[in-house]
Every structure is written in C-alpha cells, then in structure tokens.
C-alpha cells in the first residue's frame, strides 16, 4: 500500500491550493504508467522465455530435430496462421472451450453458493464431491465417445467435468470467507438469505471466484485440446494429433504456442475483469499508487 512512490511530480503551488475537497472529487482517470510498465515487463518475460527456448536446441542441449528452436516454431506458426484451416480449428477450440467454461462456471457458482451456504447440504455432498473430484476427465473419454462420438458434446462433457470442480472448490472456500461482522451487519438489517448472498457473500467471495475462473479457464482449454487430441473432435487438438502422428515437431510446437497464447489472452481478460470488479479489494487497491 505504501510501496509505490509513483505519484506524479508535485503540482505547482497554485494548483495545489485548488485541490480542495470539492475539486478533489473531480474524476481524473489516467492510463496509469504502471499498466504500461507491467505490459513491458510481461513482454520482457516472454522474450526471455523465447530466448531460452531458442538457446536450448541451438546449444545442443537437446537435438533440434526433436525440439526445434523457437524461431523455427514461430515461423511455422506464422505459416499456419495464413491458412484458413488454422483459424477454423482455432474457432472450434474456442467454441468448445467457451461453451464448456460457461456451463461449468454457471453450474459451479450456483451450486457452490447454494451448497456452501447451507451447512447440511455441504455435509451431505462433501463425500461424493471428494470422491468424484479426482476422477480424471480422460477416463470419461470412452463414455463420452459412446454417447456422442466426435460431437462437440463429447468435448463439452470433458471440459465441464474438469473445470467445474476447480471453480466449485474455490467458490466453497470463498463463501466461507465472508467477514463475519459484515455478515452480521447484513443480518441485522433484516436482509434475507438470498439478499445476503447477492449483496454480501457474492462480493466477498469474488476474489476466490475469479481465481477459480482463471484456474477453470486454463483447465477448460486443456481439456478442450486434449479431447480433440484423443477423440478427434475438430479443433487445434486434432491438428496436434495429426502432427504428432506424422513426426512433425515444429508443427506440434507451433500449435502448442497457439494454445499457450490463448491461455495468455484469457488471463489478460480475467485480469482486466478483476481490476474492474475487485477495485475495492485489498489485493487490487493495494497496488494502485498511493
């Protein structure tokens, strides 16, 4: 909270006088330089990572024919990106991912709030939940194929099953983490269970929910790709499977980069969302310049 000295240079004395309480209320939305700094740092991180990747095969630590250097992979990716197949596959992946994540998120949030705030329900379900959670989505593949073959629903089953638990557990912990004083305040004003859930529990659990969303988003992406890879539903994963079966590592890694990039973009989105909906929370406001 006190770390940053990023306050702009002190305004001129005359200006300073004007900064009374009244004028202080004037909104002054500025594109914070910290945002820019963060973006630059992130880029540096990526460049370092790519540099490392480039170096490892070039220095002969692993054979380049099995792990092609980053430059080669990026060239391959650029070539792919010029083809419509790539974009169709990407769209297919995004569709499976988005739908699956959406369903999992809604279900997890609704069930998580419901079960998390009714202790009896929670006690009743916890053994089942703990039993079901560690069952790998991949084990459900035969079942999914049996039911829907390579239809998108197969992908959805796997994606929803995997992402649901991640969000659900976060929501459960989040629901438990309300400030009791806030909760009592709401109760004393006669707010019912539903109203409290909407106005108190939901905002207090939001940090957990957003972490759950970030976790779930990545897992959903992973499962979307994996199911395409194994079952062969259309999408990036299927392309990866073809490339793997053909012994073309440059293509495999190019597609992996595309996958990873999706992950990065998704994270940027969730972070932006977090800055909007959690601007009041210590974790976010602590980072605003003080």
């Amino acid at each position: 909270m006190t770390k940053s000295a990023a306050t702009p240079a002190a305004p001129a004395a005359a200006d300073r006088r004007k900064t009374s309480r009244r004028s202080a209320a004037r909104p002054r939305r500025v594109a914070t330089p910290t945002k820019l700094v963060n973006a630059v740092l992130g880029l540096i991180g990526i460049v370092l990572f790519l540099g490392l990747w480039e170096a490892v095969p070039r220095l002969g630590l692993v054979q380049a024919r099995y792990l092609p250097p980053a430059s080669e992979v990026l060239t391959e990716l650029a070539a792919r990106m010029a083809t419509p197949t790539f974009w169709t596959a990407l769209l297919d992946t995004l569709l499976g991912w988005g739908l699956g994540l959406g369903i999992a998120f809604l279900a997890a949030v609704i069930l998580g709030f419901l079960i998390g705030s009714v202790p009896a329900l929670r006690a009743l379900t916890s053994s089942t939940v703990e039993f079901l959670r560690p069952i790998p989505s991949v084990a459900l593949i035969p079942l999914a194929v049996l039911l829907w073959a390579t239809d998108i629903r197969s992908t959805l089953l796997l994606v929803v099953y995997a992402a649901f638990w991640q969000i659900y557990i976060q929501v459960l912990y989040g629901v438990a983490d309300i400030d009791p004083v806030a909760e009592q305040t709401a109760r004393s004003f006669g707010m019912g269970k539903l109203a409290r859930m909407r106005h108190i529990t939901w905002p207090s659990a939001l940090p957990y929910v957003l972490t759950g969303l970030r976790l779930g988003a990545a897992v959903a992406l992973i499962l979307a790709i994996t199911s395409q890879l194994i079952i062969g539903t259309p999408g990036l994963g299927k392309e990866i499977a073809v490339a793997q079966a053909s012994g073309a590592p440059a293509v495999v890694y190019a597609l992996i980069i595309a996958t990873g990039a999706l992950g990065v973009i998704v994270n940027v989105g969730v972070r932006a969302l977090e800055r909007r909906v959690l601007h009041w929370h210590t974790s976010v406001r602590g980072e605003a310049a003080v």
Partner: protein, 283 residues
C-alpha cells in the same frame, strides 16, 4: 479489576433440555453417517437403474464393479501398482506445495516479478499434459522424476494462483504493524504472509490434491509399464470395462481418503480461522 474467565460449571450451564450425553453422541454419529453415505447410496442406486435400463457394455452395474473391485484390487496388484503410484502422487503433491507456495509468495510480494513472469506462466499453464509429457520425456527422460514433474506441472497452478492472491490480499493494517515493529524477513513471511494467506493457500492445496491424482494417472499413460494409472488405461485399452471402472472407483476412494486426511491437517492449520468464524457466530 477482575476478569474471571469463569470455567464452565456443569450444574448451571448444561441446558436442561439436552438429553443424556451418550444418546446425543449416538445421534450425532448417526447423523454424520447419514451425511457421509446418504448421497453416495442414492447415486449408486441411480447408477444401478441407469446401467440396468441402458444395458450398455460400457456401463456395468454397481454390483459387477464391486465384485471386480475385490478381485482386482485385493491382490498383490495393490502393492505393486497402486502403492508406488500413491507414493509418487504424494511426493509430487508435496513438491508442488513447496514450489507453489514458495514461488507464489515471491510473486505475490513483488509486483514487478509478477508482471515479468505472469504471461510466461499463463502460457505454460495452458499447455495440456498430453503435449507437455513428450517435452518432459525429451528433457528429463523416461524416469520417475518425469512422472513427478508431470504431477507437479499440473497441480502447482491452483496452489500458485491461490498463494499469489492470498499474499496480495494481506490486510494492510497487519502489514503496517509488522513494518512498525521491524518484523521483517523470514519472520514476517512466517507470521504474517503465510498465515494470513493460509485460508486461500489451503483452498489451492485442496484443489491440487485431486488434480495430483488425475495427473498421476496421466503421467502413467505415457512411458510407463506399471502403476495405478497405467493399469486403468490398460484395462480401458483391453476393453476390460468393469475392471476399468473399479480402477476409477479406487481413484475416487483415494481422493476421498486424502481429502479426509487433508481436512484434519486443515483443521489444525486454520484453527484460528475457523475459531474466529465460529466465535463471531457465538458458538
């Protein structure tokens, strides 16, 4: 001034309406049993009905699975295949916990470090294990450490993310208190940062525990010749469907057992937190 933290005097404090303690205990135990088994029993019944009515080869009835379970797992296979896997699972989980919390604290405390690494970490996070495994085989080889790495690579994320968020959310008043009294370095980490992030870290660890089980299976789907995951995949590939389901049931039971153990640990670690919550409810 007298502050008599009066010890409870049984005669005056036991509410009269309560029945004998033994009966109450029995009732509580019964209730817990109902909570524990109620839903599973209901679900098994539904499964029974579904498998009977569908007649699907891939959906054997629960009694078939149960018999198979006994045949398959009450044998030396448990010691040969399951135990080493569980060992790897626990080792991987422990490693991920240490790494996740350690790195998470570093990232949570330093904004620039976080900005620097976040895109790369998010990139790595989005890579599915089935394509990550080949890379790990290439880099590490077909060894136990490769399997551990697969487990770590998957279950570190919930720990890491939750730790980062927990550390970021440290109460500024507590943080100021520490600064004032010159509490820094390792002591600050232990007494302030870790403890105050612990509810969220525990959420991450709980997530990671079941993910570790999943990744144990995945790590044994490649480059393996034994193990719980390998066995399940082998059953699946050789169309031994009831056997495959029995393996899945074992995974579930494993998850359940670990989560019960985890809960015990959690109750210790978060004792203050649970107490605080109960206290304000006046219990």
């Amino acid at each position: 001034m007298s502050h008599a933290a009066t010890q409870q005097q049984p005669a005056t404090t036991t509410p009269p309406q309560r029945r004998s303690p033994v009966a109450a205990m029995l009732r509580r135990a019964g209730l817990r049993l109902v909570y524990l088994l109620g839903l599973p029993v209901a679900l098994i019944l539904v499964w029974w009905w579904a498998s009977a009515s569908s007649g699907l080869y891939y959906l054997p009835a629960p009694d078939v699975i149960a018999t198979t379970f006994g045949e398959v797992w009450f044998s030396e296979r448990f010691a040969q295949d399951a135990l080493p896997s569980i060992g790897r699972l626990l080792a991987g989980f422990a490693l991920a916990a240490v790494l996740g919390v350690g790195v998470g604290i570093a990232l949570g405390l330093s904004r620039s470090l976080r900005a620097l690494t976040e895109p790369v970490l998010e990139f790595l996070r989005a890579i599915p294990p089935p394509v990550l495994v080949p890379l790990l085989i290439l880099l590490v080889g077909v060894t136990t450490s490769m399997k551990l790495l697969v487990i770590v690579s998957g279950c570190i994320w919930p720990i890491l993310l939750n730790t980062v968020e927990g550390v970021r959310a440290v109460d500024p008043v507590l943080s100021d208190t520490c600064r004032c009294y010159g509490v820094r370095g390792p002591r600050r980490l232990v007494t302030l940062v870790l403890r105050s992030a612990s509810p969220q870290i525990m959420a991450g660890l709980r997530q990671a525990l079941s993910i570790a089980i999943i990744l144990m299976v995945i790590s044994e789907m490649f480059a393996s010749s034994s193990g719980l995951g390998f066995t399940i995949v082998q059953f699946q590939r050789s169309f031994a469907i009831p056997e495959m389901w029995s393996g899945i049931v074992l995974l579930g039971l494993l998850g359940f057992t670990l989560s019960v153990l985890f809960q015990l640990v959690e109750r210790r670690v978060l004792g203050w937190y649970l107490g605080l919550r109960a206290a304000t409810k006046g219990e």
